[in-house]
Amino acid sequence: MTVLTMAKALNDALDVALAKEADVILLGEDIGRTGGVFRITDGLRESHGAERVVDTPVAESAIVGVALGMAVAGMRPVAELQFMGFSYPAFDQVISHVGRIRNRSQHRFSAPMVIRMPYGGGIGAAEHHSESAEAIYAHTPGVKVVIPSTPYDAKGLLLAAIADPDPVIFCEPIRLYRSVKEEVPEGWYEVPIGEARTERHGTDITLVAWGAMMTETRAAASQLEEEGASVEVIDLRSLVPFDADTVVASVEKTGRLVVVHEAPRTAGFGAEVAATVAERCLYSLVAPVRRVTGWDSVFPLKRSEAQYLPGVERIVAAARQTLES
């Protein structure tokens, strides 16, 4: 056990995977010589060689499409896209090929590959550097979508993603890269993809979130507990497969649901969570479902960032309203 940031935990996961599995190969822009803009691949080129930690030209569609070809030929590519905002040029490859090759070939060919992308705002970055488009990937058939919120989960989920026989979109919350540290086991361990984690148990209300918004959600839960509410907090961790059972069981118990995400509201993944509850445990609901989300707008620049990001107050306020009804 060592105490690591999420950034280091991810670096450790990649290091462990490269050491264990000869077919693991890393592809991305600036991941080698500089170790990536967020230094997630720091030192890996030195320790595993330039052939396995490959600095590519600036071409996202090729990075993903080439990784797909490698995966079909038996390798385990892990592609890094520098920011989720730069994953869109590769979107055609993801939705048209990565998520389909297994079905297209009826299992003859498959794409055991991971596409890593830093995502989310809160660091005052330039336009395109604060995207939260996870719902778009969640609506893409044939890919799994994973989003860790702790160093432990980050390493375990990334190793699970690398071991997964199918493609995984691995979203890394930029804001959490270095903001928290925790004990992380050495070596290989996996956190199962598709299982939400109930972080805090309670009986009055269920808060569901994922990724960076877990920070605000946790803080909101603590504040609500101080106000006397018994709050259940669920970290979804995987959007696909979506662990609906855990959410439904929780809402059947609490009767109240607030979903929190940073992405724009309309057709965001919060809608899927709310819809599932409206389908599967409507009669348990004692209050309207509420979504605390980003606005249906572009993620703003530094000076206005705070107006966009759902803060603790907004979550608490929504939860209070929910508790009152």
């Binding site: 030929a73 038996g74 090929h97 009826q106």
Partner: protein, 342 residues
Amino acid sequence: MRQRLTPSGGLEGAAPLDLELTRRLYRAMVVARTYDRKSTALQKQGRLATYAPFEGQEAAQIGAVAGLEPQDWVVGTYRDAALMWAQGYPWELLFAGRTGDERGGSPPDHINVMPPSITVGGHMVHAVGLAWAEKLHGSGRIALTSFGDGATSEGDFHEAANFASVFDIGCIFLCQNNGYAISLAREFQTRSETIAQKAIAYGMPGIQVDGNDLFAVYEAVKEAADRARAGDGPTLIEAVTYRRGPHTTADDPTRYRSENEDAGWADRDPLERVRIYLSERDAWTEEWQETIEAEAATEIDRAIDLAETMPPLAPGKILDAMFESPPAHLKAQRAELLEQQR
């Protein structure tokens, strides 16, 4: 433009292939044409979905595969049935795909041919990845990706070619320039005089060959394959040919091209010049022609039969190949689906 076999069957230089192999390839082109014409006929009868005929491009496809090794990867398009078959993709699966059966995309285990690419451009990067993996595995295998003149306008063509050259990947880029992208004539697709010269943008060798010339195509691909296998990287080959038929059975070429244009290409038929070449060397006879045509008909009919007698995919199967094993939500949807089927 490289040419080894003139439209009238004349040979330039020494023959790159012996007579026996030339006969085999000629026969393959006859089988391919039989498949192609049969497919159009079946489509008209409503037995196949929309079909994209390749008549006129047989030499480009059969000649190319002749330059490869059996285990090399082939990544082609909806118009490359002959190319895929030559590398081992069974006719019945090509038919099955056109009947609208997912199993048509699933070649036998030892066949390194990807299902036909329906999107234009996106498949070339896959070939680069395949060849890259083989290089790292030291298997000695390379990849050939086939695409059309129109596909060269897609960004993915550019990204694939650049990656292949930067990393010395053993990938052959075979452009079958058949003069059209649906209705758009080659001259309106790009202003570069040749497609081959686009290789200069990647510091990659680019070769323009007569795509209706079996020998020239074979030679260019063989040369590129040797280079690729030696670790010297990719090659762009432009095979200049002509799409004799419509873009697909749903297309009406009279809207955008003239009869006489087509006529001009009839004289440049890829099969005819090999036939003349062989007959001048007493390696072709009327009887043999009849024999191989009969054999071809039987082979193709058998394949159709296999495809059409395939029992339909069992209900629910359409959800079973999204992942190696269906997650809970797909299991639930599968149950819903079966429920509804009753």
